[in-house]
């Protein structure tokens, strides 16, 4: 085959190369634009190290008595908000997640509706959900719990829907062939397949929610953030330090607990 032209191998087609270049170009343009236009007050930057040093100096020594006085109760409230919010979101996200799975519910409009619910739940931050629920239920832990629950629907529902879509067809077909009604097909066909990932999604979200519920108090939705807000308004940085270290310890413990449980289940 001497007439055969020498073939040059190229990794990307011209279109791919162009698209990649376009991405790099957009990125660089965005960075340059951002740096040029961001409003910086240089006077504030000059004394930042001093301010930071002063800040940490005021934090030390910590006012450890503050823990017993108000942090402990607030901490329990935070954990309750996170747990109850997660449970509430699980009950709400199971139907939405099922509705989002295209193989379980092969009805296009319902899939779209579920996606819409999931996207709007995820796009609104927990703090904004908290502000909305404070306007509805008044300040306090109830607004915080609802905020955590509504923000988590998007996360849990999306992952549950994806897990359902990846479920193996075999058991489903077998059950359908025996004439099982849809509920049985779901409970004995889909559910056992997605159960492990559902548990791990729920635990993962609980872990995130512990951290998120710690800031809810800053807008008045209960929990340990309230204790922090009070201490900050009084410029008691030694008390803020107590709150911060409590959050740190609890988040680390939650993470260790979650990964231990996940290892045992999966």
């Amino acid at each position: 085959m001497s007439t055969h032209a020498i073939r040059r191998w190229e990794r990307f087609t011209p279109e791919q190369r162009f698209l990649r270049f376009a991405f790099y170009f957009i990125s660089v343009a965005a960075i340059v634009f951002s740096i040029k236009n961001i409003e910086v007050i240089p006077e504030f930057l000059y004394d930042a190290p001093e301010q930071l040093a002063d800040f940490f100096q005021r934090m030390w020594p910590m006012d450890t008595a503050y823990y017993q006085k108000s942090v402990h109760a607030a901490l329990i409230e935070t954990l309750n908000i996170a747990t109850l919010g997660t449970l509430l979101s699980l009950t709400m996200s199971i139907p939405v997640g099922i509705m989002a799975a295209r193989n379980v519910v092969p009805i296009k409009p319902l899939n779209m509706l579920a996606q819409l619910i999931l996207v709007s739940s995820r796009s609104v931050n927990t703090l904004v959900w908290a502000l909305l629920f404070i306007a509805i239920f008044g300040p306090g832990a109830m607004a915080g719990t609802m905020a955590i629950a509504f923000r988590s629907i998007g996360f849990v529902g999306k992952l549950l829907g994806e897990a359902l879509e990846e479920a193996n067809r075999g058991p489903i077909d077998a059950l359908t062939a025996t004439g099982a009604p849809p509920t049985s097909v779901f409970l004995k066909g889909y559910w056992p397949q997605v159960m492990p990932s559902f548990v791990s999604i729920a635990l993962f979200r609980w872990d995130i929610n512990v951290r998120e519920s710690a800031v809810l108090g800053l807008v008045g939705a209960g929990g340990i953030g309230m204790a922090m807000d009070t201490a900050m308004n009084l410029f008691r940085w030694d008390q803020v330090a107590v709150v911060l270290s409590t959050i740190f310890v609890v988040v680390i413990i939650a993470e260790i607990a979650v990964s231990a449980i996940r290892r045992r289940i999966i």
């Binding site: 279109e15 791919q16 991405f23 504030f44 301010q51 409230e77 004995k188 710690a214 680390i252």
Partner: protein
């Protein structure tokens, strides 16, 4: 051909008593916790009418010219914060993630790096933003600082885990050819983790964008400031307009970063991507056969 009398009837689904007891305990916890948090039906019903009034005041959203100007200004600042914070955050996470990878680094480097990541991870961006507002004053710089810290906590950890999962063969091969540390890094490690890293980075950009719309609540720049003050002034139709703009921005960013991931990881062109996923699978296989060297 009768079944022997000793044959026990098999129960198809054996009841799982520990699980059931667990659920009963959980139910007790829920009741107790609801009492603790003062979550009651009466409050819920009260809330419904308040919620109705609230929704009534939110609609129609206030998109008058001056409000739109405020929204655009705020959103632009949020985007700028997110872009700069992602770039700096990734730049710092690369070395920190590398230092925290147990298969490449000795223990005395790994543990301090992991501790730093744990500290960055365990605080919510808004809490970090408060500290930065105190340190560098109100404005976008505080927001950038807070999001950089948050990005370090997230990307470094995942990056370290990705490095720990790489195949050692290529690393050994590069090392056997006499490459120094950086040679090993560039030719043995980075190619293996690059596509996952890109995924983390684009995810982090999304996440930074979400948070950058929020940190304004504590004065760290972006649209959150306008949102919070609108809430405090009970200016709910403006709140609604801001929320709708934020949702639109975030959805656009999500679509964009999904496409970037598809472009870099699967070599998908725009048209392939817009087609259905099943169709893209095919073109993926095609490009794997033809395009990939």
């Amino acid at each position: 051909m009768s079944i022997p009398a000793t044959h026990k009837t098999r129960v198809a689904f054996i009841p799982n008593w520990p699980l059931r007891i667990g659920f009963i305990l959980l139910a007790f916890y829920v009741v107790w916790a609801m009492g603790q948090l003062d979550v009651t039906w009466a409050r819920f019903v009260d809330g419904l009418s308040a919620g109705q009034k609230f929704l009534g005041r939110m609609f129609p959203p206030n998109f008058s010219a001056e409000k739109v100007e405020m929204i655009t200004k705020g959103l632009l600042e949020s985007i700028q914060i997110a872009v700069i914070a992602t770039v700096i955050g990734i730049g710092l996470s690369l070395p920190i993630g590398l230092l925290a990878a147990r298969n490449l680094m000795p223990a005395w480097i790994v543990w301090p790096a992991r501790a730093l990541i744990a500290v960055c991870r365990s605080f919510h961006e808004v809490v970090i933003a408060i500290i930065f507002v105190k340190a560098v004053g109100f404005g976008a710089i505080a927001g950038i600082g807070a999001l950089v810290v948050g990005s370090i906590g997230f990307i470094s950890k995942l990056f370290a885990e990705a490095i720990e999962e790489i195949s050692p063969k290529q690393v050994e091969a590069v090392r056997a050819s006499g490459a120094g540390f950086f040679g090993v890094l560039i030719y043995g490690v980075i190619p293996q983790v690059f596509s996952r890293f890109l995924g983390f980075a684009s995810y982090q950009f999304d996440s930074n964008l979400r948070h950058s719309t929020m940190i304004g609540i504590v004065g760290a720049g972006g649209i959150g400031g306008s949102l919070f003050s609108a809430f405090q002034r009970f200016d709910y139709d403006f709140v609604c307009a801001i929320l709708l703009s934020i949702i639109a921005l975030i959805i656009m960013a999500e679509v964009f970063s999904n496409y970037v991931r598809a472009l870099f990881n699967d070599n998908l062109a725009l048209l392939d991507y817009l087609r259905n996923r099943r169709a893209t699978k095919l073109s993926q296989e095609k490009s794997a056969g033809l395009g990939a060297s």
